[in-house]
């Protein structure tokens, strides 16, 4: 791996996309302000805005950093630099994760802090953690599909699968007795189910990204 060049590529992607990231961060902070009001309506608005903001910035970054590079033929510009396709793929994954993790981590910590500081029951924290990590899984799925397929259609398909999965997991958790009943608790209750889901999500992220690097390493036509 050519690490100095990977840093150059990551910096380039950051420079080209930072305005969108900062914008999403501002939107995310607004969602946290809504959440902190503590009323049912503001809670609903805050959660909706938070989820929308994270999915929007994640999708934007994948489309802009990966799909548009193929569509707008800027991939050839990067690939003429002293790098291999493996360096390029590693840089894309790193650039996207770093750009996405900035708003995601900020809002993740912010959401938990708001729940703990507001009248919202702390029992919601495990659900929020599972669902926010699920958004990260969805973005990693989109990234993997985009890098492997280089197709707008397949990437939108991955976004749809991710969103269906997100709602299915939310529905499943809300109806689980050992998690659903603890949501109203004044303290966070970390059930084996919550831990199991978090472990599964982390494993999915690692597996998807590793598989992507392996598959991309076998590509023979890069542009």
């Amino acid at each position: 791996m050519n690490y100095p060049m990977i840093v150059h590529l990551v910096r380039k992607d950051w420079q080209l996309n930072q305005r969108a990231v900062w914008g999403s961060l501002v939107g995310g902070i607004l969602s946290l302000l809504c959440l902190s009001k503590g009323t049912q309506l503001s809670f609903f608005l805050g959660v909706t805005l938070l989820v929308t903001m994270l999915i929007a910035i994640g999708s934007h970054l994948v489309i802009s950093m990966v799909i548009n590079e193929h569509k707008e033929q800027t991939l050839a510009f990067s690939m003429t630099l002293p790098i291999t396709y493996r360096d390029y793929s590693a840089a894309k994954i790193a650039a996207l994760l770093l750009s996405f993790l900035l708003p995601w981590t900020t809002l993740f910590i912010g959401a938990i802090a708001v729940i703990m500081a507001s009248p919202i029951p702390d029992g919601l924290i495990p659900l929020v953690v599972v669902m926010l990590i699920e958004i990260l899984v969805n973005i990693c799925l989109m990234l993997s599909v985009a890098l492997i397929s280089e197709s707008n259609g397949w990437t939108i398909g991955a976004l749809m699968v991710g969103n269906v999965g997100f709602n299915a997991i939310l529905f499943f958790l809300a109806n689980q007795t050992n998690m659903g009943t603890t949501m109203q608790s004044p303290v966070a209750v970390w059930t084996p189910l919550a831990f199991g889901l978090i472990t599964l999500e982390a494993a999915l992220i690692v597996a998807m990204l590793s598989l992507t690097v392996v598959i991309l390493g076998r590509k023979t036509s890069l542009i």
């Binding site: 150059h8 800027t74 003429t80 023979t220 890069l222």
Partner: protein, 298 residues
């Protein structure tokens, strides 16, 4: 003996509807090679293989001794590549691109970049999406030239340019050629452009290199005879005859192995030589392609 900058040995690549077959090329340091072929002949595929952008299915490619695609990161430090399908980032300015490339290539020549900006009438503060097609090509060339690479690989750089822009680009290329250690591989289907700047020519057609030689040899070897064949005299088929056209009495013979003895041979056979005309590179290319296609068909 000069060093070899680029070498392709038995290179092949298979696509569902196209095959690049047995490409052998050798480019000495300081050479300017024009790579001529019709659309879809395999020029871009060959140059992409050379850059490591497409991996060959067969054969060996080396650039400055580095094997491609395995050692492409090393080789590409010394290569500037511009292709008609290479685009810059539309939302960024030319100045941003220049800083980006400067941060990667220690040999970046800022004074030369500024000179090219003036020569190409480019404004570094302008966003790429606001540039015309010609300006975009010139911006890509600037970014490749100012790296001062040892090898320039240019895939159809003048395609789609207006005559003024094409002239400016060719002028900049000639300027780049003043450095005798710089090797240039320049593909085009515009033989006029290639003829102006190349000292070696390679023709490619339907995925095969059909001929490769230095430009002067091409121009010296290829001639067109206008002959008058008297009744009862049979037009002899001399070595190197590539095509014969015209009527039975007034024949036009194209040869790829011209020397003074050919005219004498026709005269000796009773055929009157009316004229011996030089051929342009375009005429040579077209005649060459037709003759090779007929050979393959036969």
């Amino acid at each position: 003996m000069k060093n070899i900058a680029v070498e392709l040995k038995g290179v092949g690549k298979d696509y569902p509807h196209f095959r690049l077959q047995d490409v052998n090329l050798k480019l000495e340091t300081g050479t300017v090679m024009g790579f001529i072929g019709a659309n879809g002949a395999g020029k871009s595929t060959t140059l992409r293989i050379l850059m490591g952008l497409v991996h060959q299915d067969r054969g060996e490619v080396t650039v400055f001794g580095s094997r491609m695609p395995q050692q492409q990161a090393l080789a590409k430090r010394d290569i500037g590549y511009v292709s008609e399908d290479l685009r810059l980032y539309g939302t960024a300015t030319l100045g941003w691109h220049m800083s980006y490339i400067r941060s990667i290539y220690p040999g970046w020549d800022s004074a030369y970049a500024a000179h090219l900006c003036r020569h190409f009438d480019l404004n570094p503060a302008q966003k790429i999406k606001g540039l015309s097609t010609g300006q975009r090509v010139k911006a890509s060339l600037l970014l490749a030239f100012a790296r001062r690479p040892r090898l320039l690989v240019l895939d159809e750089p003048t395609t789609g340019l207006d005559p003024v822009a094409r002239h400016e680009v060719l002028e900049a290329l000639m300027e780049a050629m003043r450095d005798e250690s710089r090797t240039i591989l320049f593909s085009s289907h515009n033989t006029h452009d290639v003829e102006q700047i190349s000292d070696q020519i390679t023709f490619i057609d339907r995925g095969r290199v059909i001929e490769s030689d230095d430009k002067e040899t091409f121009l010296d070897r290829w001639r067109r005879f206008r002959l008058e064949v008297p009744p009862g005299v049979c037009l002899p088929v001399l070595p190197g005859t590539v095509a014969t056209s015209g009527s039975a009495r007034l024949a036009v013979v194209t040869t790829s192995r011209y020397d003074d003895s050919l005219a004498a041979a026709y005269t000796q056979a009773g055929v009157s030589v009316k004229s011996v005309d030089s051929m342009t590179l375009e005429e040579i290319f077209v005649a060459n392609v037709h003759s090779k296609r007929e050979e393959v068909a036969a």
